[in-house]
């Protein structure tokens, strides 16, 4: 992973010192809350329903075991013993004290971590494929490009007061595991007809109260032009994005209101002015960053292990877990392992300090010391030997990190909702927990197959409900929490926005409503090989609506 230079270290130290000064001035009353708010947001610090909330950046979802141990230390010393992995691969702490935050940032800086630009109207953490560098379907490793974007966007003098927040995702694989289509800018690494690497550039995707799929603004962008082109897009947005209406300030609205063609013309015109500037990347620039992401010294291993096969045959629980939470690796003899943060025993995406320490130890022992976070609020150990899988699984079971549901019904994305969030209009975690308890049969979940269910506690859609096969949106109707269902969303390369099925359900009704939807799918699918999304796209809303509302 990327190793900080002296300049990177100095930048972090200066930033922490600056924020320490800002906090002290706030506590002494020399800064008003209005004056302080923009400073604290740019250091990832919110004031939420119960307490401050600190969002720590995990750049493109990559963590070392040492960093994970520091995250555990922070949870233990400064918080209530746990953290929450978000849908942007970051980690959040829900209970820090303002006076402790500078020290927390100091502790993070010591392990090359920070909370810079994880909030505020600026360019946020760039997210990516959690299987970057190890996936079999990878075209090119997106991580070096993510790191270049991170360096370019951090404290960018032009883009620190944008009309609204700005989110970029980069994918380097055939299958999109980074939800590129619903980001402000989505970049996909592809090969052209001559097998040369290039980017597809999508702009104007997003969720929230006006969900949109990004438009392909440029089908072919040379990697050398990545930063100049991003700069051109951001300049057009910064200049023309709406600042008069908070709800119409995202770039997706600008693209929609301007029109795709005209927006493209504006960006191209801006780009012509700067494409030859010093921001243009040279081979050496890309190579320098790529050198931080070289393959580790993989051993030459067989992709067959007798003990592994034996455990599959004799241990059905292990076999069930391996069939869902384990993926093939680009190297024979290795596997990718998903650590499920979706057990019935704690809220989705939450990890205790003890679990974090244990995960760090497991990463060192089994996965070359690295951990990844995913936008589905799980973790990944990316380089596990096939021969070690059974031992690892036994450890994960003890830690409650082996729920065998990856990419299945109870692998639920849930925002914190009204139990934590000042913006929420309904609770989401209790609904996720009720669904997990109701659908606790692994046979049933296995039979349903590949299926996404996401829950948001308000229209801001931090739970990504718009792009779930089954989406649930909690709203407040005259003081009562009710839940709206959407069907047919997808965050993958076949991205689509789910459609509202009909009137909302109460918290007592929503679990049965989901059960009814699943029944329709099982009754009407063209066999187990037809996944939920495919069946819905074939059948349309009618049979689901009929079952729910008569």
């Amino acid at each position: 992973m990327y190793q900080y230079s002296q300049a990177d270290h100095q930048l972090l130290q200066e930033r922490v010192a600056q924020f320490r000064g800002q906090v002290q001035r706030r506590l002494r009353g020399e800064l008003s809350e209005d004056e302080f708010k923009q400073q604290r947001l740019r250091n990832g610090l919110y004031l939420q329903l119960h307490a401050y909330m600190l969002r720590v950046a995990v750049p493109y979802g990559l963590l070392s075991s040492n960093q994970m141990r520091t995250l555990a230390h922070i949870a233990r010393k400064y918080d209530r013993g746990y953290g929450h992995f978000s849908t942007r691969q970051n980690i959040q702490y829900n209970w820090p004290k303002l006076e402790d935050v500078p020290q927390i940032l100091d502790d993070l800086a010591a392990v090359e971590m920070h909370a810079i630009q994880t909030s505020g109207n600026c360019i946020r953490n760039t997210t990516s494929d959690p299987l970057a560098g190890v996936a079999r379907d990878e075209v090119a490793d997106p991580r070096p490009y993510c790191e270049l974007i991170r360096q370019w966007s951090t404290f960018h003098p032009e883009f620190n007061f944008l009309p609204r927040k700005f989110k970029i995702a980069v994918s380097g694989a055939i299958h999109d595991r980074a939800a590129v289509a619903v980001h402000d800018i989505g970049l996909r690494l592809v090969k052209d007809a001559s097998d040369e690497l290039e980017f597809e550039v999508y702009v104007g995707g997003g969720l929230g109260r006006t969900p949109m799929i990004g438009k392909l603004i440029r089908a072919s962008l040379h990697p050398h032009d990545m930063l100049t082109y991003l700069e051109a897009i951001l300049r057009v947005y910064n200049r023309l994005g709406r600042r008069d209406n908070l709800y119409k300030a995202r770039i997706k609205i600008l693209v929609h209101e301007t029109g795709e063609e005209k927006f493209r013309d504006l960006v191209e015109a801006e780009w012509q002015e700067i494409k030859a500037s010093s921001l243009r990347l040279a081979n050496e620039d890309i190579a320098r960053i790529q050198s931080h992401f070289k393959d580790p010294d993989y051993e030459l291993l067989s992709d067959f292990d007798h003990d592994f096969d034996s455990h599959l045959l004799t241990n059905p629980d292990f076999a069930n877990w391996a069939s869902k939470n384990v993926e093939l690796h680009k190297k024979d003899g290795y596997r990718i392992v998903y650590l499920s943060l979706k057990s019935r025993n704690q809220p989705t995406g939450d990890v205790t300090a003890d679990q974090m320490d244990a995960i760090a130890d497991l990463a060192d022992r089994y996965s070359l010391g690295a951990i990844r976070s995913t936008h589905r609020q799980n973790l990944v150990l990316s380089d596990v030997k096939l021969a070690d899988l059974h031992h690892l699984w036994l450890e994960l079971v003890k830690l409650d990190l082996a729920t065998p549901n990856y990419n299945h019904l109870t692998d639920i994305i849930s925002c914190p909702g009204m139990d934590y969030c000042a913006l929420a209009t309904a609770r989401s975690i209790p609904i996720a927990q009720a669904l997990t308890e109701r659908f606790d049969s692994y046979d049933y979940i296995n039979d349903l197959g590949d299926l996404s269910l996401n829950i948001s506690g308000c229209i801001n859609a931090c739970g990504h409900h718009h792009v779930a096969n089954i989406g649930i949106l909690g709203v407040n109707k005259r003081g009562v929490e009710v839940y709206q269902l959407t069907l047919g969303g997808s965050a993958r390369e076949d991205a689509s926005i789910g459609k509202i099925i009909g009137p909302a359900f109460t918290s007592d009704e929503i679990v049965k409503a989901v059960a009814d939807i699943l029944k329709v799918y099982l009754d009407k699918r063209e066999g187990p090989e037809e996944a939920f999304l495919a069946a819905y796209r074939r059948l349309g809303q009618a049979p689901f609506k009929e079952k729910l509302y008569g």
């Binding site: 706030r26 506590l27 002494r28 009353g29 809350e33 004031l47 939420q48 329903l49 119960h50 307490a51 401050y52 209530r80 013993g81 746990y82 209970w95 820090p96 004290k97 303002l98 006076e99 704690q346 809220p347 939450d350 990890v351 205790t352 300090a353 003890d354 009204m418 139990d419 934590y420 929420a424 609770r427 975690i429 209790p430 927990q433 407040n476 003081g479 929490e481 918290s507």
Partner: protein
């Protein structure tokens, strides 16, 4: 009968807090049952103290909320304020604070 109390966030800790008028003057408590309640007619007394506390950097963002009372004490009328008063309605991963689910409906 419904009353009004004042709530805010403590500047240093960020915790939910409630305005109390004691014999020695105003103070802020994280215990809602210590909050001083007023009717609409006298709410301006609380408002003045709350605004002073915000200017004195004790609290952030004070505002009034409506409460009723029962055997267990003061209960906010609005669901969001119930969660603020009694904590998340879920069992936290390693939290000694008991969940509030028995105090209000899920």
């Amino acid at each position: 009968m419904a009353y009004q109390i004042y709530t805010a966030s403590l500047l240093k800790e960020g915790l939910v807090t409630y305005l109390c008028l004691g014999t020695d003057g105003a103070f802020w408590s994280t215990d809602i049952n210590k909050a001083t309640r007023m009717d609409e007619q006298h709410l301006h007394i609380l408002k003045a103290e709350a605004e002073y506390a915000a200017q004195a950097n004790i609290v952030v963002g004070p505002y009034p909320i409506t409460v009723t009372s029962n055997d267990q004490g003061l209960i906010p009328v609005e669901g969001r304020e119930k969660i603020r008063a009694f904590g998340p309605t879920i069992t936290l991963p390693s939290d000694p604070v008991r969940p509030a689910s028995d105090l209000h409906a899920a």
